[in-house]
Structures are given as structure tokens and as C-alpha cells.
């Protein structure tokens, strides 16, 4: 954008132009901040929503234009300068300046890191016919390769892998999902939900292999061969790597910020450096439910932390904390999750049927720790406020 070349000193520099970064810019304005706000994005695209990348964007049900987070005119109206395609290369926290890849130096009063996370790679699986889904370009590239009859191997049965598997199957691909663990969405959802959703995927023609560890990858003329630990082999033209994400902390680490699986932040999203905040997928805040710092990958958490950091910058009181929520869409079923389950403690799951789906109440240490709802949004909304309350009262 033309005006971005004139940016020299800003009130707040937001590094990362995803859901968290854009929300933070708007939250600053809503909190009454009048000074210049600049949003630095690594991608050439205007900021967009990421959840549809593995779902409606991959199947073609929506377009890049419709998943844009804001219209260009909205940035102008809110006086948010978007610097796209010239990512921040370094931060000097003592001098309160940042330098972009092109060499531009920008002074700031406040800096917000919203750098997100990148796909965890498999070292041997790279280059042609290998895919990940983190950005719009990734999704477009995979979409172009998906056609009826093409064989796709999805490595990792988390939310993203399963969503992409559904989309690929809808487009006619033959899909095999490899999962090292014993069930889909392992550690993320209850056993009843995982088993039921896994069954729906199988009914839709997706093959899911549990306990499948790949011993070696071989690049073939036609694609890839996965040599499994049990001695068998699987061939596919395309491989999608969806084994989780790694926080983008390189910039923060180089700037001397304390990082530990994410940029470590306090309850106001402040990092260890003065006037520097971190929000969204890259930030690791203390979670009472887990009794440790943890990153939370969810849109709702990104929005909450964006508003929290904006409130701290503006000198306002932060929004009331709420349990983190997550959602996914698989085989036409809509999953909603709220709360966090501590994997170090026993969990008792109570499965409750609803009109269209089911609800799972997850209890730990006598309290409702988390809930899951499948095609039951009303039950979900009614149950979220009960999270944290004793079992007898719920």
C-alpha cells in the first residue's frame, strides 16, 4: 500500500497479520487509541481467515476474496496501515525499533507479536507432491493437485488433517490417513467423540490407519512411498503433512525474549521485554487448568488475547477470562470444544445424547474441565458457563 512506505514511527507495531493481529488493531481503536497502528504481514495477501483453508476453501465452496478479514477500505477508515510482503526481520527492544526485510526501520511505542505458528515438518518429506495447510498459498497449491482418483496420504489425524481429508474426499481423492496414536484427534477430544467421528470418516471412504509409524520415506517417480514400521508400505501421489504446528518464535528469540514452546507472556500478554506483547498461536500464557504455560491454537483464544493486549496498551481493564473454545467441521458434523483437559490427570467422560448429536462432559478432580458438543450448539452454549464448577452442582 502506498501509505505504508511513509511509516517511520508508530504508536503500536503489530507483527503478524492473521486473526490475532487484525483483531488487536481493531481492539486498540475500540479502546480509544488514536496513534498510528501498523500491521506487518509476512504474506503478500491481505489478512484472511485461516479456518476455511482446510474446509470450504479447499473444496472450492468459498473463495480467497470471501475469507478476507477486512476490506481494504476498512483499514483506511480505521487508520490501520497494512505492510504486506515485507516481513519484520528483527526487533531492537532497547531502542524500540524494528527492521523489515527490505531494510525499513520503524520506531514503536508498543509492539505486539502475532506471528502465529508454522506447520511442523517431516525432514524427508519435502518438495514436489508434498503439502501442508497453513497459508492461503498452501491451500491453493493442494487444491490444484486434488482431482478425482488421486491418492492422498495424510500424515497425522488431528483436526487439520481430518478436515483436509474430508475436503479431499469430497473432491474425489482416495484418502489414507496415518496416525501414530490409537485414535483420531488423540489428546484433543474424548474417546467417545474420537471413535464416533473416526467411524464417520471410514463410512465416507477414508481409510484411517492407527498405530502407523513411518520408518522411512521414499520419493518415487509417481509420488511417495511410506515404509511403515510394521514392514508394510503405502504409495501415494500426494502427501499432506499435518502433524501439528510450531510457534513462530525466531524473531522473538533473536530479540532476546523468553520463549519456551511459544513466547512466554503474563496474564496481560506482556513478554519479558518492555512494551512488547505476544498474542495468538505464538504466545504461551499460564493456564491454571494445566498448571503450566501453554499455547492455545484457536481463533477464540487469538481474539481474546488480542483484546487483552490492546486493553493493556490502552490502559484499560482486560476482558473477563473465559474458557478457550475450539471448533471443527468434519463429515458435515460440527464439533465444538471448550475448556482444557490436563493430560497428566485422570478424566471421566460422560456421554449425553442430544437431538442431533451428542455432548460429552469431561470431569477432572471433581470439576467440569471441558465439554464437547457435536451438532449441539445450544447445549454447548448452555454448558460453557458451567466449566470449572464442581461435579455435584452441574
Amino acid at each position: 500500500m502506498e501509505s505504508s512506505s511513509r511509516v517511520q514511527h508508530v504508536h503500536t507495531a503489530i507483527i503478524g497479520a492473521g486473526h490475532a493481529g487484525v483483531e488487536c488493531a481493531w481492539a486498540l481503536r475500540a479502546a480509544g487509541v488514536e496513534g498510528d497502528v501498523a500491521l506487518f504481514g509476512a504474506e503478500a495477501h491481505a489478512p484472511y481467515e485461516r479456518p476455511p483453508l482446510s474446509k470450504a476453501l479447499l473444496t472450492g465452496a468459498t473463495s480467497a476474496e470471501r475469507i478476507a478479514l477486512r476490506a481494504d477500505s476498512a483499514y483506511e477508515k480505521s487508520r490501520v496501515v497494512v505492510v504486506a510482503g515485507d516481513p519484520v526481520a528483527s526487533i531492537d527492544t532497547a531502542a524500540h525499533t524494528l527492521t523489515t526485510r527490505s531494510g525499513r526501520v520503524v520506531g514503536y511505542e508498543h509492539c505486539v507479536l502475532a506471528t502465529g505458528a508454522s506447520a511442523r515438518p517431516i525432514a524427508e518429506v519435502a518438495g514436489e507432491q508434498t503439502y501442508s495447510v497453513r497459508g492461503l498459498d498452501d491451500a491453493h497449491r493442494l487444491r490444484q493437485a486434488l482431482r478425482p482418483g488421486v491418492r492422498l496420504l495424510v500424515v497425522g489425524a488431528g483436526y487439520l488433517g481430518l478436515e483436509a481429508a474430508c475436503s479431499a474426499r469430497k473432491l474425489g481423492a482416495e484418502v489414507v490417513v496415518l496416525e501414530q496414536g490409537g485414535n483420531v484427534m488423540a489428546g484433543k477430544v474424548s474417546e467417545p467423540t474420537a471413535t464416533r467421528i473416526g467411524a464417520l470418516h471410514r463410512e465416507a471412504g477414508i481409510e484411517i490407519r492407527h498405530g502407523a509409524a513411518v520408518a522411512r520415506w521414499e520419493h518415487m517417480a509417481t509420488g511417495w512411498r511410506a515404509h511403515l514400521a510394521d514392514g508394510s508400505a503405502l504409495d501415494a501421489e500426494l502427501v499432506l503433512v499435518s502433524i501439528g504446528a510450531i510457534a513462530e518464535t525466531a524473531l522473538a528469540e533473536a530479540a532476546g525474549l523468553i520463549c519456551l514452546d511459544g513466547v512466554v507472556v503474563d496474564e496481560c500478554c506482556r513478554t519479558s521485554a518492555p512494551d512488547v506483547y505476544a498474542i495468538g498461536d505464538c504466545a504461551s500464557a499460564f493456564r491454571g487448568e494445566l498448571q503450566r504455560h501453554a499455547r492455545i491454537e484457536s481463533v477464540q483464544n487469538a481474539l481474546m488475547q488480542a483484546r487483552t493486549a490492546a486493553a493493556a496498551i490502552a490502559g484499560k481493564s482486560p476482558p473477563a477470562p473465559r474458557p478457550p473454545t475450539f471448533w471443527s467441521e468434519q463429515q458435515g458434523r460440527r464439533l465444538q470444544m471448550a475448556g482444557l483437559v490436563n493430560p497428566a490427570e485422570a478424566c471421566r467422560d460422560v456421554l449425553l445424547p442430544t437431538a442431533k448429536g451428542w455432548l460429552v462432559e469431561r470431569y477432572q478432580q471433581g470439576r467440569l474441565a471441558a465439554i464437547e458438543a457435536v451438532d449441539s450448539p445450544v447445549e454447548f452454549i448452555k454448558s460453557v458457563p458451567r466449566i470449572g464448577s464442581p461435579e455435584s452442582a452441574s
Binding site: W26, A30, E49, P51, P52, R66, A68, L69, R70, A71, S73, A74, K77, S78, V299, Q300, L303, P319, T325, W327, E329, R334, Q336, K356, D375, P377, V378, F380, I381, K382
Partner: protein, 108 residues
């Protein structure tokens, strides 16, 4: 392009251009309108894009689906003409539609 008029809790009005076939939520998000949160991105599951539709316009809308109808029973500040703006799809006949943003959604 068809227009939608959003009344904000402080009484201000914002007029949005909504392309045909887009939902009111999509247009509100594109313009960065406060109070249309849309956590779920338009799936009619989160109930955070609730609007109260002007009665005359409400009568012209397609009836809500079952999921939306159920959610409208539990959203804050619900009224007889409540709708989820992600489910109100713009058509030429809805040019000029008027909706109100509930104040509780500003707190989300």
C-alpha cells in the same frame, strides 16, 4: 450494490454494501463492524453474530434453519425478530435491510 443498515448500541448507524449472495455477517466483518464477532466464521454454531432485525424486514426473510432457530433461543438480548447475521443472505429484495447490534456482543 445492495445496502444494509446496522444500528449500533450507541445509536450510531453504519451503512454497509453487501454483495448479492453474501451474508450480512461477511459484510460486517469485512468492514470491521464492532459487535459482529462471528467466532465460528459463519457456521451458525457460535451465536456471536446475532442481530435484531427491523420487524418489517424480518417478515421478508427466509425462515431460520433448525440450528439457527435453536441458537436464537439462547443468545443474549434475543427478541421476536432476532436472526444470526451469518444466515441472512443478501438479495436485491433485501436492499436497505435494517438491523440492530445487541450491546452484549460488544463485550465478547
Amino acid at each position: 450494490m445492495p445496502l444494509a443498515i446496522f444500528e449500533l448500541p450507541d445509536g450510531a448507524e453504519q451503512v454497509l454494501e453487501v454483495p448479492d449472495d453474501w451474508s450480512l455477517m461477511e459484510a460486517a466483518r469485512r468492514d470491521g463492524l464492532d459487535g459482529i464477532v462471528a467466532d465460528c466464521g459463519g457456521g451458525a454454531i457460535c451465536g456471536t453474530c446475532h442481530v435484531q432485525v427491523d420487524a418489517a424486514w424480518h417478515a421478508r426473510l427466509e425462515p431460520p434453519g433448525m440450528a439457527e432457530e435453536a441458537l436464537l433461543e439462547v443468545v443474549p438480548e434475543r427478541c421476536a425478530t432476532s436472526r444470526l447475521s451469518c444466515q441472512v443472505i443478501m438479495t436485491p429484495a433485501l436492499d436497505g435491510i435494517r438491523v440492530r447490534v445487541p450491546s452484549s456482543q460488544l463485550e465478547l
